[in-house]
């Protein structure tokens, strides 16, 4: 499990269909400070590709991705 010990905000978006988890992350990024570490859990299939693609485009940092039983866990650092 996780190597990052400090999480500033955790979002459980399991059960939300696409693009709900991505929109939850975008909302957290809008509200957060540069350097914040955000954890998001998603059981939506499309999130596996959509979330890393958005993080890359928006210039943030994807620190961790873990596949759990029936969902994935992403840890993101707000970089700008």
């Amino acid at each position: 499990m996780p190597g990052v010990t400090h999480i500033d905000r955790s979002i459980d978006a399991r059960g939300l269909p696409c693009p709900g988890p991505l929109m939850s992350l975008i909302g957290a990024i809008r509200e957060g400070q540069v350097g914040d570490v955000i954890e998001i859990l998603s059981s939506d299939q499309g999130t596996k590709t959509d979330l890393p693609a958005w993080i890359h485009k928006a210039g943030h940092e994807l620190i961790e991705v873990d596949e759990e039983d029936g969902f994935a866990r992403f840890v993101v650092r707000k970089a700008r």
Partner: protein
């Protein structure tokens, strides 16, 4: 003593629910709808109005004409709800007491959340703004036209795609399409939030030479420079930006402590009861449910809310649950449309756009006043509209 049922909001959600309750419970309940304007708007018509295909007077009716005679209409603004005391405080004084409360308060537009949005852009999400956009389009002679959304969730997810496809048609009719660059700014990495619909829409955009800028979440406008900047760091210059403003839940929800940080009501996705509240239900645009904010959602939620409240009043076990059912049209321009039917578990599988669905939408636009709010719309039409397969984690 009859049960006291108060419905906040006279849109499709509140009107249909009140009518269903009054028809079912008759003398066993006193049903009141509270609405600040007393006017009912057919909001899907705003898009047609902006493009000169509908008149404003087609889109509004006196709410009283749509309610059954045994439903009271209170034209006033509800200011605060006391969930424990079972009361609603009204703006002009007075208080309503309720045994059951329905929150059908809808969403509000908050353009002020995006710097420059109000000054620099247009939209078609209110009657006034649809009129303003229609006038702007009339004087438009070509240039860079962008359609996008400032933030999700927003009402009627197909509307931006419909609007840009219908605008393509509108500009061709006026002979200025070749002088106009059309661009769809999408908050996700495809043309439409739902992937199956996007797969159908993208080839139509390509065929009509409409550009797509994916992952463009509007952050701010510079009215003097005519630029839009995205959260992702991109900037575009626009001669005519048409941007759906951010939406939030109503202030009364926030003030009454019944909403989340954005004012949406945490709602049980199946029973439509407000979380932690036994006697309060939420529906339509007001909820935090992961489903379209649309009249169709409200239409299919209303029988569930009405049936569950009626069961409580009668002392029987409620049986009806909401499964996320939605059915709505998506206009693709040039007299064609498709239809989206889906629920919590099954994504839409839209059929190839055809004139049949366009005319079906047009018929609904004209027949709405006589059907949906009055529960005269057949619930299970034998229409050949497929849904996709349930998705599983893999």
């Amino acid at each position: 003593m009859p049960a006291r049922i108060v419905v906040l909001g006279g849109g499709v959600a509140g009107t249909l629910t009140a009518n269903l309750l009054a028809a079912d419970l008759k003398g066993d309940a006193r049903v009141a709808v509270v609405d600040p304007s007393g006017m009912h708007h057919y909001q899907p018509g705003y898009l047609y109005l902006a493009l000169g295909k509908a008149q404003g007077r087609w889109l509004c009716r006196d709410e009283r004409q749509l309610l059954r005679p045994n439903v009271d209409l209170v034209i006033d603004e509800a200011r605060r709800i006391d969930p424990a005391g079972g009361t609603v405080e009204l703006s002009h004084g007075g208080t309503l007491e309720w045994d059951y409360l329905v929150l059908a308060t809808g969403a509000r537009l908050v353009p002020e959340l995006v710097p420059g949005l109000r000054e620099a852009s247009y939209h078609f999400y209110s009657l006034e703004e649809a009129h303003r956009l229609r006038e702007r389009l009339r004087t438009f002679r070509g240039g860079r036209l962008h359609v996008g959304v400032a933030a999700m969730p927003y009402k009627c997810p197909p509307a931006p795609v419909e609007f840009i496809l219908m605008t393509d048609h509108y500009l061709r009719d006026r002979g200025i399409r070749d002088r106009t660059e059309l661009t769809l700014l999408s908050p996700v990495n495809r043309a439409f939030p739902i992937e199956s619909v996007s797969r159908m829409v993208q080839p139509i955009l390509d065929e009509k030479h409409i550009n797509l800028m994916p992952f463009f979440n509007v952050e701010e406008f510079d009215p003097s420079a005519g630029t839009i900047t995205s959260l992702e760091g991109e900037k575009v210059e626009s001669d005519l930006p048409i941007i759906v403003p951010p939406h939030r839940g109503q202030q009364i929800i926030v003030d009454s402590g019944l909403g989340d940080v954005s004012g949406w009501v945490p709602t049980d996705r199946h029973t439509l009861q407000v979380e932690g509240q036994d006697r309060i239900f939420a529906m339509g645009d007001a909820t935090n449910l992961p489903i379209s904010k649309s009249g169709s959602t409200a239409h299919f939620e209303a029988p569930v809310v009405a049936s569950r409240i009626a069961s409580f009043v009668k002392g029987t076990a409620p049986k009806e649950n909401y499964g996320g059912r939605v059915m709505c049209f998506l206009e693709t321009g040039h007299g064609k449309a498709t239809v989206l039917r889906f629920d919590y578990e099954h994504p839409p599988a839209p059929p190839t756009p055809s004139p049949v669905w366009h005319w079906a939408k047009w018929a609904l636009n004209r027949l709405y006043w006589h059907t949906v709010p009055k529960d005269r719309f057949p619930d299970n039409l034998p229409l050949p509209i497929p849904m996709g397969q349930k998705e599983t984690w893999r």
